[in-house]
Amino acid sequence: MTVTRVASISEVDLPASARVISYAEAGVEALREEMRRDPSIIYMGQGIGPRGGNFQQSRGLWAEFGEQRVRDTPIAERGQAGLGIGAALAGSHPIVDIVFLDFVLEAISEIIQQASTIHYVSNGKFKVPVVIRAAGGGLRSSGPHHSHTFYSFFMHIPGLKVALPATPFDVKGLLKTTLRDENPVIFIEHKGLYNTKGRVPEDEYFIPFGEAVVRRPGEHITLIALSLMVNKAMRAAAILEEQGISVEVIDPRTLVPFDKETVLSSVAKTGRVVIVDEAYASCGVSAEIAAIVASEALYELDAPVLRICTLPAPHAFSPSLDNYLIPSVERIVSEVTALVGSDL
């Protein structure tokens, strides 16, 4: 069965009457629907059972599906991931909730050495349908160990898929698609997004991987934004519009597969690219997108590629430093203006 994509439903087309729910609720809905449908889905992580998850990201699941399928774990991310992989090999579809993306590093060996390779090295005999779910990004000075944005190394390793939803609509659609996928999927949410609200249809829908969305059409510059940065980018774009700079904001929604076509055709139109990423610039997703543009759209570029990322320092605790280090709306506005402004 192939994933059904209800093509006529898009976030933009939703009627004004469509109900509004939070990002966290949207994720839970996806999980609930899929877990009802597919008994092989099991869910484990710290605090995701009766408590419903640190971010309420699993609320109600333990009550409905019970302790066999929804299991609280001790603090053992490597063990959690390893068990998830083993269970996947044995026919289950486990979701391993790492909660804070920072702690995925405890499990990285299992994810990269085992999960990403087994399907290939077994010559296709074993599938590894495991989901690694976590929330990344900074929120209210969470500090150096609770603020990271790790996705570039997952994008780097073949065999993994990476989803990065920025809206409630996208969370539900992508999580449902994830749970129909037989590959290991790294599903990265953002702590700052859990309480954001958006319209989500009641009817079932899926969002295929590899489909970016143009959140805001524009003429002068293509802005690719990741995760929470989408919201900042939209605010910056509104300010820039008043200054006469028309920004086209693209949200890739998934990093692997990555929708190159949408990005490249936007660049052909605007001739300028800026990437806004809360991760670091060096060897990050922003660097990868810049490389793609340079190799496949060089002759469309009218200006150098601009990357707006977290400055290269550990995440400082003090709010003044933290807000300075991560990309802010002000920084986006001023850097885009500097790149574009006088050339219009």
Binding site: M1, I42, G86, A87, I118, G159
Partner: protein, 327 residues
């Protein structure tokens, strides 16, 4: 219950096949025809055979870098394993994995592994799946003394104990992890005693006595299958050769020690005891030896004739499904 003569012969057959296979693999490797590097199991055959003989076809086994014995004992054909060692397309992993990535889902073989302890976690995960599905399957995670000081050992055993999972943790303690003697790696050299920390049963047995391995495994498997949780079985054994081919294995071990353990050969011990206590004849065992050799000769010929994979398939199977969706 006293094992039958057929069982004895079957256990013997299992061990000599592994022995012949490993000796042959060494020979091919030394002739320069085998890519990569291998870790041979010679001397430890009783553990793999004793344990796997108690498992159903659909029970799970997670193996290590020293996994040929586990693979053969669980049921992958010698042909397929030998071909895989050659990187040939007829290998059990299509030549893509090699010695440390032998896989076979049809018999629950969850793979040998190039990283030391993940097998413990993978085996535990399979046991978790079996439990959730209430399938009655059990899992076995093999690992060596080198794994027991790693966090994965602790996390795996803790998960299995806490969740009461149907798994056997079988430690092949051959006293050395690569070149590190076990007593220099840890203060508590009794692996089985660690089970107490997780409140699961732990036993230490003579890993070169295949009947004892068989018997104790049987008990642990029954316990797991009826839902009474995991067991840690420490099998004391010894590898005749170095850690990997190319390591002479005597820079950190004495020749005397090796000689003592060679005299403790699980194969000859079974044979001698069977002749003595079960009335089986030398001729029967010789005949089994010869059959085993034939199988290995055949496997070798098969493997050496098998071609390398077509490079046009190099990017196949990075992802499952055409677009990854298939449910």
């Amino acid at each position: 219950m006293r094992p039958s003569a057929d069982l004895i012969k079957s256990l013997y057959r299992g061990m000599v096949e592994i022995r012949a296979f490993e000796l042959k693999a060494r020979e091919i490797f030394r002739s320069g025809r085998m890519p990569g590097f291998i870790h041979v199991y010679v001397g430890e055959e009783a553990v793999a055979v004793g344990v796997c003989s108690q498992l159903h076809t659909d029970d799970y086994v997670a193996s290590t870098h020293r996994g040929h014995g586990h693979a053969l004992a669980k049921g992958i054909s010698a042909r397929k394993v030998m071909a895989e060692l050659m990187g040939a397309v007829d290998g059990c992993s299509g030549g893509r994995g090699g010695t440390m990535h032998l896989y076979d889902p049809t018999i629950g073989f969850l793979g040998s592994n190039g990283v030391v302890p993940p097998g413990i976690l993978i085996g535990t995960g399979a046991a978790l799946s079996a439990k959730v599905r209430a399938s009655g399957q059990v899992a076995v995670a093999f690992f060596g003394d080198g794994a027991v000081n790693n966090g994965a050992f602790h996390e795996g055993l803790n998960f299995a104990a806490t969740w009461n999972l149907p798994i056997l943790f079988v430690c092949e303690n051959n006293l050395y992890a690569t070149e590190m003697p076990f007593e220099l790696a840890t203060k508590n050299t009794n692996v089985s005693s660690r089970a107490a920390a997780y409140k699961i049963p732990g036993i230490q047995i003579d890993g070169n006595n295949v009947l004892e391995v068989y018997e104790k495994t049987g008990e642990a498997v029954e316990q797991a299958r009826r839902g009474d949780g995991p067991t840690l079985i420490e099998c004391l054994t010894y590898r005749w050769f170095g850690h990997h081919e190319g390591d002479p294995g005597v820079s950190y071990r004495t020749k005397e020690e090796v000689a003592i353990w060679k005299a403790n050969d699980p194969v000859t011990r079974l044979r001698d005891r069977a002749i003595a206590d079960w009335g089986l004849t030398t001729a029967e065992f010789d005949s089994i030896d010869s059959e085993a050799n034939d199988v290995i000769e055949d496997a070798t010929e098969y493997a050496l004739k098998s071609p390398q994979p077509d490079i046009r398939t190099a990017l196949d199977h990075v992802y499952a499904g055409e677009d990854g969706y298939s449910k």
